[in-house]
């Protein structure tokens, strides 16, 4: 089979261009706006480069020093005789994340009902709880850790409380979103069968939201192991304290060993948490999901 190519003349192209200018190029207005935006962004970038000394000897000298001194001294990792100390500190880090996440979840659980639209009919209370959660989340872990270190002293308790406070905010948000996505039918069924409010919560709400909550909690635990590993930099316990200490003392090879340890632990926890979530929580969530779907058309 042969296809014949029909010639398109220049005149036809010109005609098409005149008829549908937007298909060939952006309108001059759009072009001008795009050009203006990108040149403004480029100018701001250049100004920042200048302002932060990227265009000076400080940057070149520093880069040379970074390559020659810092990178060169990091490897090979060294200080294996301290491994037991490092492992103990890493254990403390994981424990801080575990207890902090748990405390946050326990505090957030009752509050999340106050923060959900379908459970809390008094709008100002619902709105207020949500904003309170936003406020807790707005500060980073390190800011809370800094405050707790000054208020209750150095050590892992400050880190635990920092994680617990931020997580309370995060969990109120996540849990109340899960509660707001509830299927009403199960609750209606229990109410129709004569159940009281507690029955509705226990048999209508919890089976639906618990898998979601557990999965979120596990995910945040994973996230908090990362956060907990740096809280020690401001004195709030965990491996970060040793890391900052070694870095400030220029013991870069030992610092490198700690960084490798942290990275490996984070991978291990990620893997474990993913397996747990997929194997158990999703598995348990399935029946609830199936029964939530109406069998009728």
């Amino acid at each position: 089979m042969r296809t014949t190519r029909t010639e398109i003349t220049e005149a036809e192209i010109a005609a098409a261009r005149a008829r549908l200018p937007r298909a060939f190029a952006r309108s001059s207005h759009e072009q001008a706006r795009l050009w203006l935006l990108s040149s403004a962004a480029a100018a701001l970038t250049l100004y920042c480069l200048y302002r932060f000394d990227f265009l000076s000897w400080q940057f070149i000298d520093g880069s040379a020093k970074f390559g020659a001194v810092v990178i060169a001294q990091l490897f090979p990792p060294h200080g294996y005789e301290y491994t037991p100390d490092f492992l103990k500190s890493m254990g403390e880090t994981i424990a801080m994340a575990f207890i902090g996440t748990l405390l946050g979840a326990l505090l957030a659980f009752p509050l999340s009902f106050l923060a959900s639209r379908n459970m809390m009919p008094v709008r100002p209370v619902q709105f207020g709880t949500r904003r309170f959660a936003d406020l807790l989340r707005a500060f980073d872990y390190l800011i809370w850790a800094l405050i707790f270190v000054r208020a209750i002293g150095l050590g892992p308790m400050a880190g635990i409380m920092a994680i617990a406070i931020v997580e309370t905010g995060t969990f109120i948000k996540l849990y109340s979103e899960a509660i707001e996505n509830l299927d009403r039918k199960q609750m209606d069924g229990i109410r129709a069968a004569g159940g009281n409010v507690l029955h509705v919560v226990r048999f209508g709400v919890l089976p639906q939201v618990l898998p979601m909550m557990l999965s979120n909690t596990l995910y945040m635990f994973e996230h908090n192991v990362r956060s907990a590993s740096i809280l020690g930099i401001v004195g709030a316990g965990g491996i970060g304290f040793l890391l900052a200490d070694r870095l400030r003392a220029y013991e870069l090879q030992e610092a490198c060993l700690i960084i490798i340890l942290v990275v490996l632990t984070v991978y291990a926890i990620d893997y474990l948490s993913r397996v747990l979530r997929e194997r158990f929580i999703v598995g348990r969530a399935e029946p609830a999901k199936i029964s939530a779907k109406p069998a009728a058309p």
Partner: protein, 290 residues
Amino acid sequence: MNPPDTAVARFEAHYAEHRRRKTASTALFWVVFLACLAVAVITARFDIRILVEGLPRTTDFLERMIPPIALSTFADDVADWYWGFGKWMGSLLNTLLMAYLATVLGTAIGGVLSFFAARNLVKSYAVFWITRRVLEVARTVPDIVWALLFVLAYGIGPLPGVLAITVHTLGAQGKLFAEVNENISPLPLDGIRAAGGNWLHEMRFGVLPQVLPNFLSYTFWRVELNVRSATIVGFVGAGGIGHDLFTAIQLLYFSDAGAILLIVVATIMLIDMISEKYRHRIIGKDSLSR
């Protein structure tokens, strides 16, 4: 024996068996959970007394961050509280510009690397593997640790802060962008290859138009995260408002710390709002779940 009874009996036996298994697995869960909790409590030296004693001290600490403000002398009191307003605004500007520059540099580098970290776009497995590992290291090491390292080489100031956030950003953006790249339709690429285009043409005219909206929305989201990061890296000497906050809390200048914290929170909430608005304009909310 009538048949319905056996059916019921079979059901009852099956149900009892199911309940038994469920109870056993629940019991196992609690045993494991409580064991973990016990180990954690011992390892982290968790002490409820510190918590009970510490809470009033913490609330006291937070209360002292807001100095007494009387309604009659409202303007004077607030002016007194925010005595360093000009200085702090300068630091805030520094923080925001640090976040901007780090986002631009990190996104640019990460964006270029993402093409080499997408399995469908590079032929050589070695290039793909190495790029992926580089991105992984850049992303997994926390930005504040990068800041500590850069402070060693570049000295104290915003420069090491920008570099630290840039490295973390390029790792995160590179990975996200690579995933976007791997989900594109290969048909436009075939077309460009058939028309005689080289690899660069394929990337520019085949891939970029497909991925740009996603790239942009991730970048807006990254600005938000980087403003937070830029505040934090100041704690280890990398400039910006984080440095002022760190000093104020360390030296127990309560009202200063409160004033700066308020500025930080207001800024972060404002940026969240603006960025969310633009993200939604560029792309639907669903595609943003990580």
